[in-house]
Symmetry: C2
Subunit: 605 residues, 2 copies
């Protein structure tokens, strides 16, 4: 391939036949889809038969990098995990950071494509000296942290980086994640279960290379310095540089959209005991992913009391909200402990927190009794039960076997009206911005290509946290679409969410790194192309407009406190946003991309 | 002891008699001198006979902590190494940070006092399970990094923290340092040589405690949050939070006081190749000392070329300037390599850089020839020679035996007019702010209690980097005194230089932590008391006004470029500043504290 910034090879591993092959990265696809999410979306569509079982050997599991990864571009630290989700049965892209994604690229690859299923539990070694599938019998049932340590020792390279699943992945928990560098996760929607279904415990990368060839190195260096000075060190990234996401606790609570007691409230009385100011007292150091100038990472340690000695990279806003306020937990140190256990078991903290919160409401309402729970009193705020239940889930013990399927599965299991307090979209637990406090978030969740997700579009930034009216449907479709397309490009480069990068900067970085001139308009088109691609995938899998709606509680019950008092996202309001969204997208009123749209984007389905 | 924040014990170790004893921290001394520098200064004065040989067993070596260390107070991460300097023969206080100082406190001590000399090379183990002097034969001659790794393995606690000397300390290089946590140094004036003279290779601390008792924990937490928000995250600490000290390269070069070619120039043509913008391109991550919210630490890695693979926590401004521009070196990656080697050998980068720069000038002037240097062509800008000479110094090989004594020793060895380009005060190499670009720095260097030091007072902040006229003597004595006194208090708490903390905040933290109400006026008086104490020590050791002057080049040769063009700190100018300084200090015209002054400060000499 002529383009710089790419390593030129994709690593294909057929686990069933133990066939390992490095093939050229297809330049035509790269030009149309960049890498990361885009390239992965195209390949997943092409490589999969429709309606496969996500946990069957037929489901490809990919880790895709992008041209900017490991070049020093701010926050270009991620890889995209691409597969069909066993939790939502939709297209799945999920992003991990830390060092492992950069190492995978530095080892010489633009991506890793895993097919089939290994005969026995294995791990994949990727080194400068070759690639090998190795026995992982000694890692069976082990947590993320221990597995990481053992593998680093086994390969004898202290700088080697590990991505692994924990017990949750081995036991096919629907929201098991793939964890890299201990506390970084390809978090949502069960990539870890797919890896577990392939009998693949871990992927370790050992490489001495630290260099990605750049087309115009001098201009690149100059531009990078300018961007670091003006964008990264500027006021837009102040929040990330100082505290990172936990700062959002205060914003959410003040605007009344902080999930509390399974989304029955949006204001948490004890928010200031779990906010960023509290975190600072627990912080021992800050940290960054590989070569990121932002340094949003917090390393915390509990120094006294019951949870003394627990250390964690985290917790993030989503974890604090979904496991804290949403479960009625007000002790920061307890959240650190809970997060630590969930990370070691290898599960998504959002889905785990949401599922436990729903189980707590079920317990309160009498749907679940102590005897269903091995004696655990799963009340809101009961720390011990909230911690102990985690092992039940990861090992699918007792009620854990149900909870391992998330809130949708729990509602099915409980029956009756339980579906009314199961907060999910397409099976994915709703994350920590209550849409009743920011109506655009309802549309963002509803139209996300992987189920309820706050990352594809984050209109709350313009609404509750900005100066757009949060309680009207007007104008929301437009900002949601803009975010979705731009993020599709970002995630194809692959750049982390925490760098608020615009098209212009991305175009310039892309041009300087690859040597291929790209305009902002071309990037916009690529973003739209990718978004249409994943929509096509989901339609092929059987999804339709009916699946694009928010859950019952959001549409039918109003909040009682704070700015959103009395608000709900009624069907009328949502319908207005959704129809506008489809229209602006150039899709039919049923949410299907028109032939004209596909043709204009050059998509061959 | 009744005061909280202190651990209540000092650990006394008599290395000669292998006697280890924890004695109560003397409350009366703590009230008058706080801890750190103050307490150490008082104890050193009381424990030492006058005019001892600093490398004899008679010289105590102390590591003193303070009441704020490890409490979460910003930048309260340091310990003060206190001893008589083998390089300057003055009082010596030097500060290391990272994690080790906090661990020493958490293990239960307000300080460690080492006396005598071990019979054979030993290391000190300090654990929750006891304190032990152990054989270190297996560590002889080993570098700082390997020693650290071996000891952590030996004691079987991955979280154990190590302070150690490298070969330079074992070989009594006059500017050998004590290094902790790999890249943190008790850097200047030879604390490492004193440790080497005691046959003590290292001190490892293993503790599970993370808790320091605080008198008013709730008020403390609240105040800490406020300080973090308003002071640390405010504009005053922006420079430290983003890039740390390397940002100063630009400031110094623009104001014409960046040492270049052994202080013959103050402007370096290639400054933008060794500045913070360049550093950012090498940075893999940022980092902090234990519980510090500032995160000034840079972790860099060289990714390509000759020095590929080198990783470093650093380099700091002083290192970049003294080893870079001052030696005519313009490659950032080379500076990283040089810094790495110096850290592993365990030497002070300022003195090492300054000494090599002088040797380069000597070579240029024909004082030194290639044959004196084992064939090394020690020209300005010759990277290979500049790197290779380091081993000569650390192992005192050939000319290295002379260079191990610093520029004063080199001048004596070379004879003739060499003293004219030996830039030192009291034997200490002058650091990286040329006083001809900021006259107050001359006074700061001249009156420093440990020889030329930029940390006791930093008037350049008000002069060249601020809005005070840098080229007059007026008003300089006052700001130098203010800095010296305030820093004496800071270093007794012990707080790092990079937190620009005022008396009011210190008084409040001290009060909330210890439970003993202290006013800002009391703190000011303590600062002055400490400064007079170290002056008394130096006078007792034989120092006088004659030793308070800047070196020849600064007083007699002017700079040719930038704002200080044509400037020098003439005798007349300096005399004016010095006399004003003595007067404001309440000292005689010969620089001796009057009885009245000592009495008013409650000092019994």
């Amino acid at each position: 391939m002529d383009l710089k910034g790419y390593m030129g090879k994709l690593l294909w591993v057929d686990l069933t036949r133990e066939k390992i092959e490095a093939r050229e990265t297809p330049e035509n696809l790269v030009k149309a889809y960049i890498g990361g999410k885009g390239l992965g979306a195209r390949l997943l569509y092409d490589l999969s038969k429709p309606k496969i079982n996500p946990l069957s050997p037929d489901n490809p599991l990919m880790f895709m990098l992008g041209p900017l990864v490991a070049t020093g571009v701010p926050a270009a630290t991620k890889a995209a995990l691409i597969t069909k989700s066993p939790h939502t049965h939709t297209f799945l892209d999920s992003y991990g950071s830390g060092y492992w994604p950069s190492w995978l690229k530095l080892a010489g690859y633009d991506g890793l494509i895993l097919l089939g299923r290994a005969e026995r539990l294995s791990y994949l070694y990727i080194g400068d000296d070759g690639v090998e599938l190795r026995d992982a019998g000694h890692l069976k049932g082990k947590g993320v942290f221990e597995t990481t340590d053992i593998l680093v020792r086994d390969v004898g390279d202290k700088a080697a980086k590990v991505a692994t699943i924990g017990p949750a992945g081995e036991n096919l928990v629907e929201y098991a994640c793939v964890s890299c560098d201990y506390h970084h996760s390809f978090g949502r929607e069960g990539g870890g279960a797919v890896m577990g279904s392939k009998n693949l415990k871990a992927i370790i990368v050992s490489t001495d290379n630290r260099d990605v060839e750049i087309s115009k190195p001098d201009e690149f260096d100059k531009f990078l310095s300018e961007v670091n000075r003006t964008e990264i060190m500027g006021p837009d990234h102040e929040w990330a540089r100082t505290d990172g996401t936990p700062i959002i606790i205060d914003w959410s609570n003040e605007t009344g959209l902080l999930p509390t007691h399974n989304f029955r409230m949006g204001v948490f009385k004890y928010a200031d005991e779990i906010n960023a100011e509290t975190l600072r007292r627990y912080r021992t150091t800050k940290y960054t992913c590989y070569r990121c100038p932002i340094a949003c990472r917090n390393i915390v340690e509990v120094r006294r009391g019951k949870y003394r000695g627990v250390k964690l990279e985290g917790p993030e806003y989503e974890t604090i909200a979904m496991s804290g306020s949403n479960c009625g937990i007000r002790r920061f140190d307890a959240i650190v402990k809970w997060n630590y256990i969930v990370d070691d078991l290898g599960m998504d903290t959002i889905s785990a927190g949401a599922t436990i919160a729903m189980a707590m409401e079920a317990y309160q309402r009498g749907y679940l009794k102590s005897e269903d729970l091995d004696g655990l009193e799963l009340k809101f705020g009961n720390e011990d039960a909230w911690i102990n239940i985690l092992n039940y889930i990861a090992f699918r013990k007792g009620i854990g076997d149900v909870l391992a399927g998330g809130v949708k599965r729990l509602a099915e299991y409980l029956g009756g009206d339980a579906w009314k307090f199961a907060l999910h979209i397409k099976g994915s637990e709703m994350p920590a911005y209550d849409p009743r406090g920011s109506f655009g978030m309802a549309l963002a969740y509803g139209t996300s290509d992987r189920g309820a997700c706050h990352l594809r579009a984050w209109p709350v930034a313009y609404e509750a946290f900005g100066d757009m009216d949060p309680f009207t449907p007007e104008g929301k479709a437009k900002v949601v679409i803009e975010d979705q397309d731009r993020n599709s490009v970002k995630w194809s480069m692959v750049i982390c969410d925490f760098y608020a990068v615009g098209y212009e900067t991305m175009a310039k970085f892309y041009t300087l790194v690859t040597g291929r001139e790209v305009s902002t308009n071309e990037l916009r088109e690529i973003g739209e192309r990718i978004w249409n691609m994943t929509r096509l995938y989901n339609i092929r899998e059987g999804f339709s407009r009916d699946d694009d709606f928010p859950p019952y509680r959001i549409m039918s019950q109003s909040l009682k406190h704070g700015p959103p008092k009395g608000k709900k996202v009624t069907k009328k309001i949502y319908w207005k946003m959704l129809m506008e969204y489809y229209k602006l997208r150039g899709w039919t009123a049923k949410g299907v991309p028109t032939k004209k749209k596909l043709k204009s984007l050059g998509i061959k389905a």
